[in-house]
């Protein structure tokens, strides 16, 4: 089977997985304590009013019927209405998604800018002082809760220098970039240590392989060797690592958006969960799951295209 067959097959695998995710999210939230009708109608609603709300929401139907209807609505882009603001969940998500895309985009860029050089230096200078320093910093970074790092950056950078705003988001491109920098840096500090560690291990195993020794012995220059062979061979696993990190990055976004008062999806999910706003929680969860599944899919496809050895179909 060719590479495109692989991509097609991988795409087909995603569909049942998405249905499964929707089903589990739906089931889990079904058992959530609390009466949605009561939440909508208010505390002083009569029993008759409650029945009316239940009927209009279809809460009297069986769980399977409700699930079917939910899936049908989702496919048409209808995620229901927020219990709190009464606005359509889809439009709330639409308002918030830009912030999160910015955060993830700039965050990922910083992750690469930080991780690749440090990982490469650490591997090339294995067991030298600089390697120990980088690994030590990595351990420190892994132990710091992202929200705390954010608070410390606010204290040390935003408050003392006044160069960066302490929260919120802007209107113009530059305002946005300005507001997103510290949150994105926080995200990068939280997730780079894992990438550095993985990249280092991957590069060391490539460096110790036979064809690198051969290259060295026939006199290929060191820097050329690293660029042409080592980095190239470590790139595939590197991309997989970043994809594995995606779930973690999204959770990081939830925490960091709350720390920096960024009106993104993560902050929305937290507000919805605190307010026990079920349709919103469902909507956000679905979107996050979709994002993670898409990132895994993309990374598999990129890896397959980069590396002809990925045997496809097994």
């Amino acid at each position: 089977m060719g590479r495109f067959g692989f991509v097609g097959k991988r795409l087909l695998q995603v569909i049942p997985m998405l249905f499964g995710i929707v089903l589990v999210v739906f089931m889990v939230l079904q058992v959530t304590p609390g009466d949605p009708a009561r939440q909508i109608a208010g505390l002083r609603a009569s029993e008759a009013d409650l029945d009316e709300v239940r009927e209009s929401l279809g809460l009297n139907d069986s769980v399977l019927e409700q699930y079917g209807r939910y899936v049908g609505n989702v496919l048409q882009g209808d995620l229901g209405f927020s219990y709190k603001s009464r606005k359509p969940v889809a439009s709330i998500i639409g308002d918030r998604i830009g912030v999160t895309v910015w955060l993830m985009g700039v965050g990922l860029l910083l992750v690469v800018l930080i991780s690749v050089p440090l990982g490469v230096i650490s591997a090339l200078r294995k067991d030298r002082p600089i390697d120990h320093i980088i690994r030590g910093l990595g351990l420190l970074g892994m132990s710091m809760p992202a929200f705390w790092t954010g608070v410390i950056l606010l204290l040390l950078v935003a408050n003392t220098t006044g160069w960066f705003p302490s929260g919120g988001f802007g209107e113009t491109f530059w305002e946005k970039a300005h507001h997103i920098f510290l949150p994105a840096l926080t995200l990068a500090i939280a997730s780079s240590p894992f990438i550095i560690r993985g990249l280092r291990a991957e590069m060391i195993s490539v460096l110790e392989s036979d064809y690198i020794s051969t290259g060295r012995s026939i006199g290929v220059a060191g820097s050329r060797l690293v660029r042409r062979f080592v980095l190239r061979n470590a790139a595939g696993p590197g991309i997989t690592l970043v994809a594995i990190e995606a779930g973690f990055l999204l959770f990081g976004a939830v925490v960091i958006e709350t720390t920096f008062a960024l009106p993104g999806l993560g902050q929305g999910l937290v507000i919805a969960a605190r307010g026990r706003d079920l349709p919103s929680v469902q909507g956000y969860t679905l979107l996050f799951a979709l994002a993670v599944v898409t990132i895994y899919l993309l990374s598999d496809i990129i890896t397959a295209i980069l590396d002809p050895r990925v045997e496809v179909g097994k």
Partner: protein
């Protein structure tokens, strides 16, 4: 060589390298790198603080004193007081009694469950294997952190929900690792010999297989305790974890954030407590890995 990162909560199976040294080997403890002992020292200090908090803490962590709120550090209040006039130093100490047990349980329970299920799957094979490993596939298909949020939302706030959510999600990685190890060990000569000698399956599993595969679990445990503790603190920070007024490091950071310009120590110190614990555990984990992977 160190293995690639593999926090269990991300639900992705780590690359498994066979360990070269069995855990019971003589002299293993003497060969442990120094960092393990530094880490053990740090973690032991935290455990002591947790146990002795009622003795060392100068104040009741829940005692409110509105007349003396947001005080700066003094001899009376070493780290000042919070927005309700509670002693921050006492709260930081008492929080160890919340974060430590939940962090440890949140890592140990999935490790135990995963190890047992993985061993059963590998040893018995056939339908036992199918049921356990297909369940693992399903759990793993999910973006784990998102599912933790959903589970905690559904089960309600509190320690219990968080531990359940971790256990449901994190057992998978251990099950995979241990299953692989058991498959490897199952066909070794001494296990065959035990079977020929007429030992019962369960006894073979317990006496001959288990001690030889348990290392893998031990290598992954310390970093999972870090993840469980960080996750607990994150949930509490978001207001979805341990409800107030209980002293918990993440929740204290949330309390302190609005006062970061005036009372910077308020949010900083609980964070340092988390970082210190994380560093201690990471040192143990790295050291174990170096010693056991030879």
């Amino acid at each position: 060589m160190t293995s690639p990162p593999s926090p269990a909560y991300e639900g992705v199976p780590p690359t498994i390298e066979p360990l070269e040294v069995p855990i019971g080997e003589r002299g293993l403890w003497r060969r442990m790198p120094k960092k393990v002992w530094v880490g053990v020292g740090i973690v032991a200090t935290y455990i002591l603080v947790a146990l002795l908090a009622p003795v060392i803490a100068p104040y009741d962590p829940l005692l409110i004193n509105p007349a003396n709120s947001l005080a700066s550090p003094t001899a009376d209040h070493l780290l000042g007081t919070d927005q309700l006039g509670r002693d921050i130093f006492s709260r930081v100490l008492y929080a160890a009694r919340v974060d430590l047990p939940i962090g440890f349980l949140g890592a140990f329970l999935p490790a135990i469950a995963g190890t047992l299920l993985g061993a059963l799957a590998g040893f018995y094979g056939r339908w036992v294997d199918t049921v356990i490993m297909r369940t693992a596939d399903v759990v793993q298909a999910f973006p784990a952190y998102i599912l933790v949020i959903v589970l905690v939302f559904a089960l309600g706030q509190g320690a219990r929900s968080i531990i359940i959510a971790f256990t449901v999600l994190a057992w998978v990685v251990y099950a995979r690792i241990i299953r692989g190890e058991v498959l490897r060990v199952r066909d070794l000569d001494y296990v065959h010999a035990a079977r020929v000698a007429g030992l019962r399956n369960l006894r073979i599993l317990r006496v001959h297989v288990f001690p030889n595969v348990i290392n893998q679990t031990i290598v992954y445990l310390p970093s999972d305790i870090v993840f469980a503790t960080l996750a607990l603190a994150s949930f509490s920070f978001l207001g979805l974890g341990i409800p107030p007024p209980t002293a918990e490091w993440g929740a204290m950071i949330a309390d302190g954030q609005p006062f970061i310009t005036t009372n910077w120590w308020f949010a900083t110190v609980p964070g340092l407590a988390i970082v210190g614990l994380g560093l201690g555990l990471s040192l143990i984990g790295e050291g174990f890995e170096e010693a056991l992977r030879g």
